[in-house]
């Protein structure tokens, strides 16, 4: 049912697209829709009066944006459609379907008599490619990438060179054969063609590999190779293109080519890194204008790409370097919302780009000038496959001598099979000037055939093959805090052992880099206290925040996320203290700890919905305000000392084991006042029960949720920038043995020192 509506809508859209792109139609419509009155076609010199046009049709001036929007809309609706059809999307990868759609649209346009647009290279390289690469570079998993960097570089550089020369050389040999009628294709053109077609395409690889969820190692190998071979492709392309008109290449040219390769790749990386550092530095100062933070990420990265392209450096490598360099610092500086925005914008743009590229490939196939030559195409196809397999096998043999985790035959097969070609090859060929390269059309045809073959045949069969060969899939487990602790521990341990051995190895340099980073770089690029935060703590807080947000999103207690230890609480692991050991001083220290914990676990608070917000100021982010609290903890300790003078109101009774309220420790926090007046029962709060001696420093988020206690929060109006306000809910319904905790609560909610004592700080108590 949904599907039928969708198809009807799609049909209308297609119709309008076809109609809109035909220039002839618009003129006709204009004359017929020009409304009431005479229409002087003789020009405006004649001043005869015509009636005021109530409704007019003027398509020309919105033509370009209109068409672009239609295309983007079409691409997005296609994407929607594929996921509505359940069975097909599991058999055929999306890229194939999109190419087919492109073919259909191209065919439709040709039927109508229109010239379908071809994928123009400048549009492709300037607008469609960067979002995809930025998305890949920003979210590049750095650890596996650097661990396998040697392997990736071998495949990217040596593998691509091998492919280009093998294909180019053998093609030339074939062209020289009698009876093929291709004698006019000279060596340099063949080598040029070889270099264009040998590069593995990141767009196609991403599109196919994302759906098969292969294990991280293989994914990063193929994907890393597709990114890093851009430098090789750029150099070879320009080298052969430059000299093919001359006809010969000398040794000097080869030598210059090698130098050029180093310049192109390193230059690209340096340009990217510079822009990345600039972006990180800029993000340090954005704490007052959170709204435009994502913009900096996008614009700086795009500028890196364009700057690299100005000098014919490798734009892709610049983009990757920019994203990878800026990410750790920018993420420490920007708010959580901006982080989410960046992530979703990048994913959205890259998704749309990806879709458009494949559709245009299909359309260009129908539109483009073709010159079919059986021999050339078939030989190209076979040579591509053979070259790829030989290259991978040969390189792996060499690489395995240096790797600890060797690549098995299965891995090699997947790497070889995953060498997909895509739109970059097509666009590079399209850029060739037909006057210099009379066989350009033949090249284009061959390239399109290879692209179709790799995307359709290899793309469709890789998933069953992965299942058949039982290749290890991606592990979906969440990173646990234990693993993180032990990963860090291992890093330090291995560095220590290397130092004991006196061996300046891998770990030693990594450790040195980390220390340099911590000491100098982070101080410059990260704002405020976050610059000193060790990685383990950052990880822990990130995890806490994630859990807290999950709690809220899961409806506040309905279904708990599985990561939370829902069944074990702090008292299970805390050693039981003997009851006699509850002297008052111990309690006040415990309370001090509690207050500190309140501040720290501000991060675990639940989010209230905002009532309103100014377009230019977002409400202060809980995460970063949590940090402000930690900074201000000294003031809290002073306050606490004052509170501890109210000790004499407290007694510490032995808690009855089955008391519902004291049987667990709860942490009370109602941090940011978002300006909410209403309270709801279902908002889970974590409350501290300081009278519980069993677990003086315990936190138990989860158990709280299973019990909906009536609380009434004091509402308070605070500015949005006001930051932390501690409000402890007053509990109303408690039984008799609650008096001590109640007293305590009341004590804590006592106004305490006057707010004007603290000038710029947030008052601790209302």
């Amino acid at each position: 049912m949904e599907l039928k509506v969708f198809i009807v809508a799609l049909g209308l859209l297609l119709g309008s697209l076809v109609a809109a792109s035909s220039p002839a139609a618009s003129n006709g419509k204009e004359s017929s829709h020009s409304g009431v009155g005479d229409h002087e076609s003789a020009g405006h010199g004649n001043q005869s009066r015509r009636a005021f046009p109530v409704l007019s049709f003027d398509y020309e001036h919105v033509r370009l944006p209109f068409e672009i929007s239609l295309w983007v809309l079409l691409a997005s609706l296609m994407k929607l459609g594929f996921h509505l059809i359940p069975r097909i999307s599991s058999i055929v990868p999306e890229s194939c379907l999109l190419i087919v759609v492109g073919l259909l649209i191209g065919g439709l346009m040709k039927l109508v008599g229109e010239v379908p647009p071809v994928l123009r290279s400048d549009i492709f390289f300037l607008y469609l490619l960067p979002p995809i690469i930025l998305d890949a570079g920003y979210f590049l998993p750095i650890r596996p990438f650097t661990e396998n960097l040697g392997t990736i570089l071998m495949f990217a550089v040596v593998g691509t060179l091998w492919n280009s020369f093998f294909i180019g050389g053998l093609l030339y040999g074939v062209c020289q054969l009698e009876g093929v009628h291709l004698v006019h294709v000279d060596l340099l053109s063949c080598l040029l063609f070889g270099s264009i077609i040998s590069a593995v395409d990141p767009v196609a690889v991403l599109a196919v590999f994302e759906e098969i969820h292969i294990n991280e190692l293989l994914h990063i190998l193929v994907f890393g190779e597709s990114l890093l071979n851009d430098a090789v492709t750029v150099v070879l392309y320009h080298l052969f293109e430059e000299y093919s008109s001359v006809g010969t290449i000398t040794i000097t040219d080869v030598f210059l080519g090698i130098v050029c390769f180093l310049v192109v790749s390193l230059g690209g990386i340096v340009v990217g890194a510079i822009y990345g550092i600039l972006a990180a530095f800029t993000s340090r100062f954005t704490s007052h204008t959170r709204v435009i933070e994502p913009l900096f990420v996008f614009v700086y990265s795009y500028m890196a790409y364009l700057s690299a392209e100005v000098f014919h450096l490798s734009g892709i490598m610049a983009l990757i370097a920019c994203g990878a360099v800026m990410r750790p610092y920018v993420e420490a500086n920007i708010s959580h919302k901006s982080h989410t925005t960046t992530k979703y914008f990048l994913k959205m743009w890259s998704s749309v780009s990806d879709t458009l590229i494949f559709i245009f490939l299909g359309v260009s196939t129908v539109a483009g000038p073709h010159q079919w030559n059986w021999t050339f195409v078939i030989v190209t196809l076979i040579l591509c496959l053979v070259a790829r397999v030989l290259g991978v096998v040969g390189l792996t043999f060499v690489i395995n001598k240096f790797r600890i985790v060797k690549l098995t035959t299965k891995d090699q097969f997947i790497v070889a099979y995953g060498g997909l070609r895509g739109a970059i090859a097509f666009s590079l060929a399209y850029l060739l000037d037909i006057t210099h390269f009379p066989m350009r059309n033949m090249f284009l045809t061959a390239i399109i055939t290879v692209i179709f073959f790799t995307v359709f045949v290899q793309g469709m069969t890789i998933r069953p093959l992965v299942d058949l060969l039982a290749v290890k899939k991606k592990q979906e487990t969440k990173r646990s805090i234990n693993e993180e602790i032990h990963t860090q521990f291992l890093d330090h341990l291995l560095t220590g052992i290397e130092d004991i051995c006196g061996h300046y190895g891998h770990h030693h340099w990594k450790d040195k880099l980390n220390r340099f980073n911590k000491k100098y770089v982070k101080k410059c690029l990260i704002a405020g206290e976050r610059s000193k935060e060790p990685q383990l703590i950052a990880f822990y807080h990130k995890m806490e925040m994630k859990q807290a947000i999950e709690l809220v999103e899961s409806g506040g207690g309905a279904k708990l996320p599985s990561a939370l230890p829902s069944t074990v609480s702090m008292q299970n692991i805390q050693p039981k203290k003997p009851p006699a050991d509850r002297a008052l001083p111990q309690l006040s220290k415990a309370r001090e700890e509690e207050i500190r914990k309140i501040l720290r676990t501000n991060l675990q608070k639940t989010r209230m919905r905002l009532r309103s917000y100014n377009r230019h100021t977002l409400v202060a982010d809980p995460y970063e305000d949590g940090w402000n609290d930690i900074i201000k903890r000294k003031k809290m300790i002073e306050l606490e000392k004052k509170i501890s003078q109210m000790n004499n109101y407290l007694t510490v009774p032995a808690p009855p084991p089955d008391s519902p309220t004291i049987s667990r420790a709860r942490l009370a926090s109602d941090p940011q006042a978002w300006g909410m007046k209403t309270t709801t029962e279902s908002i889970p709060t974590i409350k501290v029960d300081l009278a519980s001696p069993q677990s003086p420093e315990s936190v138990n988020v989860v158990d709280e949720l299973s019990k909906k206690e009536k609380q009434q929060k004091q509402s308070k109006d605070k500015d949005e920038e006001g930051g932390l306000t501690m409000k402890l809910p007053e509990r109303k319904e408690k039984e008799g043995d609650e008096d001590p905790p109640k007293c305590l609560m009341r004590c804590l909610s006592d106004p305490g020192p006057a707010p004007e004592d603290e000038d710029e700080d947030q008052p601790f108590l209302p």
Binding site: T567, P575, K597, R600
Partner: protein
């Protein structure tokens, strides 16, 4: 404790090689390093290791040094620590950091995994009662964060608590409110670190070491 006299001879190297799995060349290199650290004596003491400058900045320095002198790591079923070790013990501890050979069976891989994780476990379980208690785990996290000042010390407790909770809930499951979770046993330790491929990650490349250049 076999300690070597002046020049080691091939026979002793060969027995060591069989015991620990290092090649003769690697044993030679490590022996040179041992002599360098121990100032040409036959035994190594804690102070000798403390003189290594690069170790100064390592947060878990003392635990690493302790591991070399922990009897559990070089003798089966022995406990306690010694004051000085010979080359054989040094080599035995180093052998925990060898990479597994390429063509090994699943059982051998599992065995290597257990051995390496046992080494890690011993590093955490300082009182040798077979479990890592909350206090010991807290100590581990505090050491890791020891370079981070006051901030680190405060959150170390929270992190250690959260980690213990996680271990308990993964390995033991639901617990009644008055049950007490003693600590992490070795089997549970194995279980929670399943995701980290210890056998390949916990290694250093002994292949191309030239220790004579680095005199400290």
């Amino acid at each position: 404790m076999g300690s070597f006299q002046s020049l080691p001879d091939d026979h002793q190297y060969r027995t060591l090689s069989q015991k620990t799995g290092f090649s003769l060349e690697q044993i030679g290199i490590l022996h040179n390093r041992f002599k360098q650290l121990s100032q040409n004596e036959d035994t190594l003491r804690r102070d000798d290791l403390k003189t290594i400058q690069d170790l100064e900045s390592n947060p878990i320095r003392s635990q690493i040094i302790e591991a070399f002198f922990d009897k559990r790591n070089f003798q089966k079923d022995a406990t306690g620590s010694v004051q000085e070790i010979g080359f054989e013990e040094f080599l035995t501890v180093m052998s925990y950091f060898r990479a597994p050979a390429h063509q090994i069976t699943e059982e051998q891989r599992e065995e290597i995994r257990r051995a390496k994780l046992r080494f890690l476990f011993n590093m955490h379980d300082t009182d040798n009662d077979g479990t890592i208690t909350l206090e010991e785990y807290r100590h581990v996290v505090e050491e890791l964060l020891s370079r981070s000042g006051a901030l680190g010390r405060e959150t170390a407790k929270g992190i250690a608590d959260a980690a213990m909770l996680e271990v308990a809930s993964i390995t033991v499951g639901p617990m009644a409110p008055d049950e007490f979770y003693e600590g992490i046993t070795f089997e549970q330790f194995l279980k929670i670190l399943k995701g980290v491929e210890i056998e390949t990650r916990m290694h250093i490349r002994f292949l191309n070491m030239d220790t004579t250049v680095l005199c400290k």
